[in-house]
Symmetry: C2
DNA sequence: GTCTATAAATAGATAGAC
DNA sequence: GTCTATCTATTTATAGAC
């Protein structure tokens, strides 16, 4: 009795684990249902016993991933510890930690070396421009992240007044 | 003589214009060659006279888009004017301005309402956590953009020492 | 250089056996 | 619930006419 239920729950959890990681790293379009199921150790056909569509899986995977990501910070309450945990090279690599907030905003990292080079060069140009305008190196880097990240995140948000507030905050470098 | 050359150059420019905008808004995988060509007023078959593959187009489109985006700021040298121009609602909408740096980092904005809701809620949770940890509203918003944007941008960058420097800068809220 | 037609591969979704 | 087989649609890329 319980075995069948546990078995199904276990399969669904494995699918969600795989999907959360694969989507976070590679995006919705890049990852196929087949890839998710293979990563979870199952086959295509079994998918539709758990989810009604790929979009359905995506929605559940984000929720699942963000809850899991939040749990990793649930016992941390100090600002600098949160910030340090989040802004770590390990998080950039994304093996054990892969917050959907930061990962579900990437297209470049899926591309080849040439394209990544172009992106890096372009980003450096913006940093240079900010330094030439009077900011020191650290200020320039931070302001570029506030600009690029601010616009990218705003585009993903659903709340217009939050976007307005967010953009305003990103304009103030001090404080 | 010159007509043929101009004609080809003109077509290629139209393709690049279309591609820069469509890729920036929707990502590499979402946009098909057919969509780019239709947007440029041409058909599929004509594509391969200008580019050898979709990836080739993508690389050129980023370069083209970033140069164009930089030109829009070429006469502006004051920090606050640059920041204001960049962090505008118009840039978030992305009609006339669409910096590849900020747009080529998006997956969520292509998804449906439910998924955007989930993303917004998740982002708000992170902001709340930062406020509960002692930051005021503006500081919390800014720090969240530095975290989420910092990790997302780092993943796109090709330069390891730049990533280290970038992450360190994003940890310092003041300055 | 641009067009139409088509080849070849990939992916979302369904059907039916176990 | 999970599997294999299959349908259908989309998409990258090529071939050949104009």
């Amino acid at each position: 009795m319980a075995w069948n239920k546990d078995h199904k729950e276990n399969s669904k959890k494995r699918i969600l684990d795989s999907a959360a990681k694969l989507f976070a790293h590679n995006g919705f379009k890049t990852i196929s249902i087949d890839e998710v199921m293979q990563h979870a150790g199952l086959t295509r056909g079994a998918f539709y016993s758990h989810f009604k569509s790929k979009s359905d899986l995506y929605a559940e995977a984000i929720l699942y991933g963000s809850q899991k990501s939040r749990q990793q910070l649930s016992n941390v309450f100090e600002v600098d510890k949160i910030v340090n945990a989040y802004l770590s090279e390990a998080h950039v690599e994304g093996e054990e930690r892969h917050c959907p907030l930061a990962f579900l905003v990437s297209d470049i990292n899926q591309q080849n070396q040439t394209i990544r080079d172009t992106y890096t060069t372009t980003f450096n140009s913006l940093v240079d421009k900010m330094q030439l305008s009077g900011l020191n190196r650290e200020q320039a880097l931070k302001q570029c992240v506030l600009m690029v990240g601010g616009v990218a995140i705003s585009r993903a948000l659903n709340d217009k007044s939050l976007v307005t507030e967010l953009l305003a905050s990103c304009k103030e470098l001090d404080g």
